[in-house]
Amino acid sequence: MGGILTHHGGGRRWWISVGLLGLLFVVLALILPLAVVVQRSFDAGFDNFADALESASFIRSLGNTATLAVTVTITSAVIGYPFAYAMARSGKMLSRILMTALMLSFWTSLLVRSYAWQVLLNDTGLINKLLQASGIIDEPLQLIRTPTATLIGMTHILVPFAILAIYAQLRSISPDLAIAAHGLGATRARAFWTVTFPLSIPGLAAGSLLVFVLTLGFYITPQLLGGAGNQVIGQSIVEQTNTLLNTGVGSAMAVLLLLAVIVILGVAARFLGLGRVLGIATERNSA
């Protein structure tokens, strides 16, 4: 009887068997399929990996993906920080308005948002119309099917993750610290850059990391907004499996992508703590 009093109404073995039930589901529904992807990637020894890495279009997509991930991360941080700061350090009213706008955007489906940007960036879209009406340009700019279009769409989709991470961190910093610095003679800017900003870096880093990793696996948004020459890894993988019907090489590419994600998160977990990064991811999945 002593045991039950320390194990919440059941022995530890009982709770392990409850957990195993869930584990069984994940193993059958997800881990088995992933194991088959790994197995398929090695079905010709290392040839599938060699084929993937010798393909000029795959190498180009690696470069495109890396460029995209870096630029999306930077724009998300630059746009997300002031927004998060305004949300964390202003009156109830403005704070609520900003949070509502963020949630409306966050809860709009990724497909719908990519579609919206397609409509906006079109040759006859709102942005070209505005530019032409204001006399800045005569002919419509080629915005759609460019890396810039992908960058805009992806930043719009991923910036909420950066904002939520930075916001959570800013909320944990007492505003009194900056006020004290101000009271001791620092200008507002100096108080921010020497007190608040350094303390907010863990949130900024966690949010940026999450945005970076999520960008790596995107498929739909680059497909709808990017051009033929701006293929990313996700598109290369789908091209191999669906168009070229080469699941071996497609699986090898998929394994490389998964490895990259795991390595980056593994390294980051040592410095930031995985919970901090993924705690934000649970708000809403993406990609």
């Binding site: 900003l98 706008a101 919206a116 906006l120 719009h156």
Partner: protein
């Protein structure tokens, strides 16, 4: 120290940019013209009516709803079980339960999609509700896991111990005491899992065929083959459903908080 005026104005400008796409789609759904352009020409419900009267869209709507609901059930059962295991088994086993529950969150969807396709096709699990619901269920499981785990950390263990001391068996305690206590968190997680299934495209594309398509899959196909305002109308419907469920999540939130307060006293 409060944000200065420049930062506040910048915040408002960014807020507008954040919601512009959502507004554009909602507005174009009500156009009376035949092309998707913003600002829309005229106002009418013709495209909404068009979609509501179209059997293809309506069948996709039904498929999406069935897949979402069933996947939420899978996510709630499996995610809840894993959370109970992770919270109460100690050491390495608890770590395994947590790692497995977090995996779907970091997995690039394209990678998962290939795996699902390769395995599910062998068991007749493509082109039907069950197959896609299994895949979406496992992808939505982290939402349940995280919410239930957070709630379990705050529960008073003496409640369950009291049931055991008074003669309830392990199973009876689980069903009559533990599950009702974690139900609100599981429901919140389940609703989030439903939403993630509701607008998921990549895996759904791999597991669908010409006869079985979900709303996002059909929408994606339409967007690629040439846009007409009916796509905006569908996008509007998809968005409204998501917003309604998100509001329910926010409404259930306070109930959850009340339960937490009650049990911590």
């Amino acid at each position: 120290m409060n944000a200065g005026w420049t930062v506040r104005i910048l915040g408002v400008v960014i807020a507008v940019l954040l919601i512009v796409p959502t507004i554009v789609i909602c507005a174009t759904a009500f156009t009376s013209g035949t092309s998707v352009s913003f600002p829309p020409t005229g106002f009418s419900f013709r495209w909404i009516e068009d979609v509501l009267g179209d059997r293809r869209w309506m069948r996709a709507f039904g498929n999406s709803f069935a897949v979402g609901a069933l996947s939420a059930v899978f996510a709630m059962v499996a995610g809840g079980a894993l959370a109970l295991g992770a919270a109460r088994a100690k050491g390495a086993i608890s770590t395994v339960f947590t790692a497995v529950s977090v995996l779907p969150m970091i997995l690039p969807l394209v990678v998962g999609a290939i795996g699902f396709y390769l395995v599910y096709a062998r068991f007749g699990l493509t082109g039907n509700v069950l197959g896609l619901a299994l895949a979406h269920g496992v992808l939505g499981l982290p939402y349940v896991f995280v919410n239930v785990l957070a709630l379990l950390r705050t529960l008073d263990p003496r409640v369950e111990e009291a049931a055991r001391v008074h003669g309830a068996g392990q199973f009876a305690t689980l069903v009559t005491i533990t599950l009702p206590m974690i139900a609100p968190a599981a429901v919140v997680g389940g609703l989030l899992a439903f939403i993630s299934s509701w607008d998921e495209v990549v895996v759904a594309t791999f597991l669908s065929d010409a006869r079985f398509q979900t709303l996002p899959v059909l929408m994606y196909g339409q967007i690629r083959s040439g846009v007409e305002p009916s796509v905006s109308a569908v996008a509007l419907i998809v968005t409204v459903v998501t917003f309604v469920i998100a509001l329910i999540v926010f409404a259930v939130g306070p109930i959850r908080a009340r339960i937490l307060q009650r049990s911590s006293r």
